[in-house]
Symmetry: C2
């Protein structure tokens, strides 16, 4: 048998501990699958005394993660510290510079510096593994980069944040509002104390920008992602969505268009008959549309110790087997720099919910505002009657341009009889 | 750039033509992804003059596929002839013996001779690629063998035959019976003139036996698969399933049990709230349950020129990149020979539909037959009333052993008031 693959793990939080647990639990089977053992040579974390539910006494300990990069006996650095900059970045750059393979679960770092890191890794002839950075346990990077390598990818989209999907699922099932359900999710450990990273769509946007790079062979462009979260989704909109035959999901979409790469993360309505509408709770799902393969959907847990450890180890198995490939499907030197398509040019259908004073003529004013922007109405729904009071009115439009929709909404918001800012949710036919 | 990977394609039917189309359409992108070009050096088929919608005049032509194995300039033989024996088998064996990599879409051959072929290939140090043999465009072999390599796989199940799924979906949507819908499917090209291979579950069983080998690191045991098809599924049962909160799917299941590997293909009822219940039409889906990753589902087109070509080419890309691995996740020499768990020992819940004469005491007789086998009733439903005539009665049971259920059904079938053989469909909680 070939010599062991020796790894050093930086960061012993949930994922780091899960990775050690996996590597020790399945050491024998992994050796068969790899043709060699995977050996943990060193670990690093801030607090040595913390109880992590695993025994780390057998591994060389370093208080400073950066010291791992200098260990001559280590083949791979596994970075599980996190953060778009700081130690994580410095550790990866030093490790690559010293000719070590690196494996990371760090989506923020890749979203901001993925292209540069890929260039560095390829220049040094080492692998940069990041399966764990996108969609947790779903091997979506391998699927895109290798499994569907025969295809031109036309579109990638998916549910990329389990916290948001959990909240939206619970809102639909219980009829409760966002703030309530978020508080529950925080108690259950499905949402962080500061949830903004998840619920404002930033985490999903990080992952989407990485998927774009792999799918379209282009430089990672996180700044080009249009990002919205789910704070503004109300129980009322979820109920109306059900009535219209939709479910509300936070989706990330990426596709090449004539105006550049369109990348957008926002809540949207998807038809209840689609597979992705039934991906519920903490699950993630990614749909890939390829010219030969057609539509492929992968669903699985998007976070947590076990799924993320599974992804980290799949990268280690590839490295142990000597299986290499360009970081983002084509060599980093050949990644295209593509403009980002402006969201104002996006075309789609829209759901608009207004709170209007229930009196004659209101709908005529709203319809005129849409007509003047050449936005074509598909349906109008006013269930409640309460003369003189504010009642919800729901409109859906045919496909139109976002900029026109925005102009119409501005005018509608200014109408006397409209009592609060319009709620807009995009409708995706999929 | 490294020298081209030179391939020879045997069999120019739908998939062969699709593969050539893909390789020529994406030649430039593939070269970037592989670091070298994939070059078609030779082709073989029975009829040179047939119009395949592609130009094959540039390739060396052989009437006899076996001649391809002898070409010294060829690195990979792509076998798209099909059949569990005959030319396909001889070609693969000869090619491997001559040290050539092989790629095949031939599920029947692998189900019957997969273990032996894997041993031959590994002894010669060549790759045996078969991504296209299971679930068409879904890269499920790569996902199982590499993407989830960190896991002990506890269960694999899925919709493995698009023809059956199309028929069952159309039956549910139209309320029509099997024979009617099959005739339609034949007209539309979704079912063969002789549909038995698909509708009797054999094709799904081939694929399931291959998945078992990869998932559990065991020798392929097609003979150990319990196989039933969908001919006996009636429109009435589909309607009752809907009423009970289920959809009927032809699923293949495989898992290790204390009694050996359980492998079974049959129609079953799955809860309408599960993702797999919503995989409709010609789509396939495979669920993998791993100890660290949890549940993963992959959905995509299970057949057709494009998806199958996509799978064939993913194997070629791996070979072009020099990415190797054991054929069935662990080296063929280490594959375990596991006994097959007898279906009589299977435990599960059951749906039973009887046609009974509508008179007092009938249900008591049926209930007594179940009680005597210690089968516990979960629900009973008799919608129609028609005194003295035959009416349907539906029973569902709690979990019980298949052997006990069979004994109870035999006794029920013999009751005077039961007018036709009981219809039994297994219920899967998933």
């Amino acid at each position: 048998m070939t010599a062991s693959l020796r790894i050093a793990i930086a960061g012993l939080g949930t994922v780091g501990a899960g990775t050690i647990k996996l590597l020790t639990t399945h050491a024998g089977d992994l050796a068969k699958r790899c043709g060699r053992r995977i050996e943990i040579a060193a670990v690093s974390a801030r607090d040595r005394s913390r109880d992590r539910g695993i025994d780390v006494s057998a591994y060389r300990w370093f208080d400073d993660a950066l010291d791992l990069a200098g260990l001559p006996e280590v083949d791979v650095i596994v970075e599980l510290i996190g953060g778009a900059d700081g130690t994580a970045r410095e550790l990866l750059e030093r490790a690559i510079a010293r000719g070590k393979h690196v494996v990371t679960a760090n989506k923020a770092l890749l979203a901001h510096r993925g292209t540069a890191l890929a260039r560095m890794a390829e220049a040094k002839g080492v692998q940069l593994g990041y399966e764990a950075a996108v969609a947790g346990g779903i091997p979506i990077i391998k699927t895109l980069r290798e499994g569907l390598a025969g295809n031109r990818i036309d579109r990638v989209y998916g549910i990329l944040n389990g916290t948001c999907n959990y909240i939206l699922t619970a809102m639909r099932e219980t009829g409760r509002d966002f703030a309530d359900v978020l508080a529950d999710a925080q108690r259950l450990g499905y949402a962080e104390a500061d949830p903004s990273f998840d619920v404002d769509g930033v985490d999903a946007a990080h992952k989407l920008s990485i998927l774009s790079g792999v799918a379209f062979g282009c430089e990672i462009d996180f700044a080009g992602v249009h990002v919205e979260g789910i704070r503004q989704v109300s129980a009322l909109d979820i109920a109306f969505a059900g009535e219209l035959g939709y479910r509300i999901k936070l989706l990330g979409f990426a596709r090449p268009t004539e105006a550049g790469i369109e990348q957008r993360v926002h809540a949207c309505m998807v038809p209840v008959g689609t597979s992705i509408a039934h991906v519920e709770g903490v699950y993630n799902a990614v749909v890939i549309e390829g010219d030969f393969v057609g539509r492929n959907l992968c669903e699985g847990r998007g976070a947590g110790a076990g799924p993320t450890a599974s992804a980290v180890v799949s990268d280690l198995v590839d490295i142990a087997r000597g299986r290499g490939q360009p970081t983002f499907s084509v060599p980093a030197a050949e990644l295209r720099r593509l403009p980002s398509a402006p969201m104002a040019r996006h075309r789609g259908a829209y759901y608009i919910r207004l709170m209007v004073v229930d009196r004659p003529g209101v709908i005529a004013d709203v319809a005129a505002a849409l007509r003047d922007q050449e936005v074509s109405l598909e349906s109008m729904l006013q269930r409640a009657r309460s003369p003189g009071e504010a009642v919800p009115v729901v409109l859906t439009t045919h496909e139109t341009e976002e900029a026109a929709m925005r102009r119409a909404l501005d005018r509608i918001a200014g109408l006397d009889s409209v009592t609060e800012p319009p709620h807009m949710i995009r409708i995706e036919a999929l």
